[in-house]
Symmetry: C2
Subunit: 217 residues, 2 copies
């Protein structure tokens, strides 16, 4: 992951300088653990405070209401997803392809190393269906992700790495739906999906060049 791409506000969010923000973050991490453990259904302010080693009243000092805590958690998750990524795939010589492979690498990484991130994401997603405040944050997150993929596709088609006989929007819809599906359909078979997706999205020219690279003879 290109570290320089991580925005400033995000670093400040996850590595605050002042004590106030640090303790705030401590509480959010506790809330994250609590939700990962027992979902929103089982989320209790007392449990969060206890996990953070703090009195309940202190929690309410930082987050006046439970709702404030939950909104804070949504923002915490957003920052997390911007920072946490899977290992960078080996350069293929085609930037768009590398970018695509990064998406699958991320998915693999989340399933293998950060399953709770996916769990809490799912919880917040469901809650967002009824909670407009949470929904706003989740949609913002989704928007940035979508925008990144859109740039990838545009670059991929322009550079001849991706096929040019499919409309950008259709390519984008399919990719987003597919990557979203991975999160709920299960983490096994990501390798299969990656192979099929590449076979579908890459231009014939690039596919042939990649095949030649694999068997130099």
């Amino acid at each position: 992951m290109d570290e320089s791409q991580i925005p400033e506000w995000c670093k400040h969010w996850l590595e605050p300088r002042d004590d106030h923000s640090r303790k705030r973050l401590l509480l959010l991490r506790a809330a994250f653990d609590a939700v990962a453990e027992s979902g929103f259904e089982g989320l209790r302010t007392r449990a969060v405070a206890s996990l953070a080693g703090v009195n309940v009243a202190t929690l309410h000092y930082y987050f006046p209401t439970k709702q404030d805590l939950i909104q804070g958690l949504a923002q915490y998750l957003q920052a997390k997803f911007i920072v946490v990524h899977g290992p960078k795939p080996a350069p293929s010589g085609f930037p768009a392809l590398d970018r695509l492979r990064q998406e699958f690498s991320d998915s693999r990484y989340y399933f293998a190393c950060e399953p709770r991130l996916l769990l809490v994401n799912l919880e917040l997603g469901v809650r967002g269906k009824r909670d407009p405040e949470v929904q706003r944050v989740m949609e913002e997150m989704h928007f940035h992700w979508r925008q990144g993929l859109e740039e990838m596709i545009q670059e991929g088609i322009a550079s001849g790495v991706f096929r040019n006989d499919i409309a950008r929007q259709e390519m984008l819809s399919l990719l987003i739906t597919l990557l979203s599906g991975i999160v709920i359909a299960g983490g096994d078979r990501i390798g299969e999906l990656e192979r099929v997706t590449e076979a579908w999205i890459l231009s014939d020219k690039v596919k042939k060049r990649l095949a030649r690279q694999r068997e130099p003879k």
Copy 2:
């Protein structure tokens, strides 16, 4: 939808004869409404009983614990998904293609006419991550769906309707992930996805024949 495919147990489930099962179902429908309205987080036995026009104690007579009610709800949802389908697509002359189009028709129908079904399904899916009893029912549901798709693919490839240069398992994985993704990625753009999917999965022969049918000239 082929009505004869609906199993007997499912009919009995949704149209019970005896009073006991009928009232049981009444309570489950109330539970469904309650979860659709405010999620599991806001599910209260009192609210369910009230929605069903019944005393709380009566609810506990039919469902000794809240957990029993939730497990019942999971089974109710399972029966619902077996019975409720979108309109049958116009016959294309290719059974496998019709079957595929039915999947997209279902998705469209759920989004347009039964959004609460998707909502409760999502809620139960998330709960299943922590509730083994619910998970069992959800996995059973998923298994039948997967099996149906597997048969479709097998038949599609054997009859030359689907392309034969992709492994069955890969085709299945992609299709399941894609259809799962639709549920969370949003109901707009299903048309786009259907078009792209057909372009991807159909054999060249069938694609040409379909194009000829569209422009008979």
